[in-house]
Amino acid sequence: MRANLVAPGFAALALALASSGASAQTVISRSIGAEPVETTVTQTPTGTIVTRRPVEGGVVQQPAGLPPAIVQGAPPLVATGPDTIDEITTRAVVERAEATRAARSAPARQITTRQVSGRIDRADRAAVRSVQRNVTRQTSRVVRTPARVALNPRERHIVYQTIVEQQVVPRQPAIVAPPPTEPALIQRQVALPTYRPPIVAADE
């Protein structure tokens, strides 16, 4: 009975010594919960990093009363069961990392150049038109506007008459009546009176 009581005491002492001696080592606390946990395994040149985080949020609290796990030396991979959630998640993450690595190392995709037609669709034309309508041209044009000449009726009459007289086309030729034709000279033979010498009586 005493031996039974001493053995756990030694075990506790050994555990305490081991924990004090391992304080210089890397201490990884283990938490066991029912929630699904995503485990990310990252392989770096210096070693392997295992990161776990709960899938549906929340922080996995370490149950009270459990002693901290002591892992000495590398690799710090957490041992899990063959078909536990941790194992399945770890495998999925590893496969995904491998797939990503393979995709990165794969040759670059072939670049295909496609020639786009220069035609403009109706919608694009409408857009261009609307843009063109919205453009406002600001041009300054200097136009010398002659003042309107204000003439009184008298001046207007003078100007008009002068212009008309100057522009008037040759006046209408005056119609001159033809000279009256002289009647034909009619020569009449007028019988001259015959001269009769007076009869003078000789013997008076």
Binding site: T145, R148, L151, I158, V159, T162, I163, Q167
Partner: protein, 64 residues
Amino acid sequence: MIVRPAAPLYAVGSVLPPNVPLYALPQNLALSVPAAQTYSYAYLGGRAYLVDPASGIVVADVTE
């Protein structure tokens, strides 16, 4: 032959075509109507227009 004035072809302020002949006003008219001495005139379709010779703009329609 006097041409009877027709309906106005050009309103005041409009520009005459360059092929419309312009004439200088007589000197005696410049004396009697000083306001018109700087303008020329055009006689189109029986209508008399005072025109700015530099721009061809009709400044007055003096047709009676």
